[in-house]
Symmetry: none
Subunit: 405 residues, 2 copies
């Protein structure tokens, strides 16, 4: 039996609350030019004190050597097999969910960028000079007005930040097998929306018409005079967390992508700020509404991707400073880990196992003295697939029945 | 998705070189009568210095408790599931590939032994007193001449060392489901080649005729007066390493079996000596021709199988002495491990996890002080299936794309 099916079969309800704190990209490496990691160097009195009352270990996001994007990294943490075809969430759907939009089973979503064309019809800027969000909203409003009477589809266009927007086609019968129109380089024209299968031909023709209408509306704009579509996709058939685990699940994430993944898994996205000290109050305000709290702190990953060890240390110290407020809520189970490592020397996501801390009254206090990669390697929990973490959290919360007599 | 399919999907090319040094049977055990292993006791200044700049861990060749033969042990290291039917390489094919022979998709290969019959037709020596290779070559020449006009099959017979030869039937329509004719004991006659399925009946009849002709040719020989066939087999359908991983792969192994496995996986077999200090110059001479270098050192396994701890220590110290020459090539990734353990107290292959060292700029320098079983147990890489090692090596070489957005 698949691990997730086993959990679904055994999950039971009680009033124990689980908090999963994801420090995006927290894991790092020791290397010739970086003898200590951010966790080694940061002053984390609260986290280290917690480690001394906890069990440590490591999660493997996808598989040995595999570097995950944020989507697979989080799906794994939520208990899904990230290599299953069902777990392939398209970028358009992610963006739409991240903006808090509802996506129906038949709907089609795509991510849009405003871009700049020169007089010859070639792209000069794939992000239209990162136009202000207010301009984006004005243009989206005009396009929505022009397309509201469009014959053949119910269309919804929603502005994102700067040059980004989301296009949603409501209804059914659409195919997601349509290629991006963004050529990923300048000096060439945008691509036509190419169908990848015969079944996608009608959808591709429809998208071509919609793009043409959008372009008409914005033709005279100084910068944002064309649109590019990417990640045409439909909602994946992911079993939903409330059904799987009998958990009312709330997502507290400051960035659209992570909200999108959480929503696709059946979590309720709760508005909150982008920093941990803003997220914790939102969790407190919603403490009685959920059994499972997914908290996402983006900035550790950002610092890692910038190759900035000092910034990564600061992020961790900021989290540590606000940790007592989270602990004051007295969650039955608190887990701290990442969706992947983002080692500063690599300035990118990596495959390295991610340190994990699990605290509960029955976690096995394993003698770890601090929350670091090195302590985690020696910890009681061992190194195991991230997709098995949910089982461990449910168990620590007393939320899994015994298997067999 | 299977691990190997995931790797095949994500593999990308660059100019980073990977060296996999297999110390056959390197792992050992601590036991009442052997308180320290060969790695514990050997003086390995170069390997230990490398360990201090590397990550350690352990590979599990097949599965917990499973003792692998050399074939499965190596297939695992090359990324294949050694329990998959596709990974079942017959002994005949291995021997033929090991001798550098080309095997076509339809060809049938068997390993042959010269043996001795008494006047009653019973076996007295299953290896014909280990006749000199020169005698083997003369007899094979006579048999080949007698069978060149054989009606019904294109036959190729190739001499190996001492009493060994390989029989190849070129063509198609053959079945490999024919049992060995070697009864594995003396005092009884050779067995007839028994078909194991209906489809194999024609092939079995053909092999019986060929064996009869061979025996006619050598009937008057004093020792080698009969032949035994084993491991009737066809080429397995293994996906090839250049296609799987986008690697130009070279095998540097002094013994036929290991050359055979490497060739079956799509590696180019490069002529070289049997000792590590002979292998390294061959690697250097071919450094620009490959991206992946499989180096095989047999003698550690031999010493383990002889129950000779002292000899095993000497082999390791010989490897250590020549290690700087290999390091001077500056491979991007260097891994040292074995295809299985061969503990001296057991004088046989075993199931014990095999120590692993991985060195690269991003390996995670884990503080290991020496390359031993005990340090490996504590290392950053953890204990994982040998079939996932290729993923780790590709990742360390920057040869795997990110999985998902």
């Amino acid at each position: 039996m698949n691990h997730i099916d086993l959990l679904a079969r055994l999950a039971i309800e009680n009033d124990h609350r689980i908090v999963l704190l994801v420090l995006d990209g927290v894991g790092d490496i020791r290397a010739a030019d970086q003898p200590m990691t951010a966790l080694d160097r940061a002053e984390l009195p609260n986290m280290d004190a917690l480690a001394r009352r906890s069990a440590l270990g490591r999660t493997v996001p996808v598989a040995m050597g595999i570097t995950p994007g944020s989507g697979p990294g989080h799906l794994s943490l939520f208990g899904y097999d990230p290599t299953s075809p069902d777990a392939d969430i398209g970028r358009g759907v992610l963006e739409a969910l991240g903006l808090g939009l509802k996506i129906g089973q038949g709907d089609l979503a795509a991510r849009g960028n405003f871009a700049t064309l020169d007089g010859d019809g070639n792209l000069t800027d794939r992000r239209a000079g990162r136009i202000p969000t207010s301009v984006c909203q004005r243009l989206v409003g005009s396009m929505q007005a022009a397309l509201s009477a469009f014959d053949g589809a119910e269309i919804e266009i929603v502005a994102g930040e700067e040059h980004r927007f989301v296009l949603i086609l409501r209804g059914s019968g659409y195919s997601a097998e349509v290629a991006d129109t963004d050529p990923q380089k300048t000096g060439v024209p945008p691509l036509a929306p190419q169908p990848q299968t015969r079944e996608a031909e009608a959808t591709a023709r429809l998208l071509a018409e919609i793009i043409a209408r959008m372009n008409e509306v914005i033709a005279d704009e100084p910068k944002a005079n064309t649109v590019l579509l990417r990640g045409v996709s439909r909602l994946p058939h992911l079993p939903q967390i409330p059904d799987l685990y009998h958990l009312r699940a709330g997502a507290f994430a400051g960035y659209p992508l992570y909200r999108g993944v959480a929503a696709a898994c059946g979590m309720e996205v709760v508005p909150c700020g982008k920093y941990f000290h803003e997220i914790v109050p939102a969790v407190r305000d919603n403490w009685m509404r959920f059994d499972f709290f997914f908290l996402h702190v983006k900035q550790a990953d950002k610092a890692g991707e910038d190759g900035n060890l000092k910034a990564k240390i600061e992020v961790l110290e900021q989290v540590d400073a606000a940790l007592p407020e989270l602990l004051a809520l007295e969650p039955s189970v608190l887990a701290i880990t990442g969706d992947h490592s983002t080692p500063a020397p690599m300035a990118a996501h990596s495959w390295h196992p991610v340190p994990l801390l699990v605290h509960s009254p029955v976690c096995f206090v394993d003698g770890s003295q601090e929350f670091t990669e090195t302590c985690a390697t020696q910890g009681h929990l061992g190194t195991f697939p991230a997709s098995e973490l949910m089982g461990l959290l449910l168990a620590n919360a007393g939320r899994l029945a015994k298997y067999g007599a």
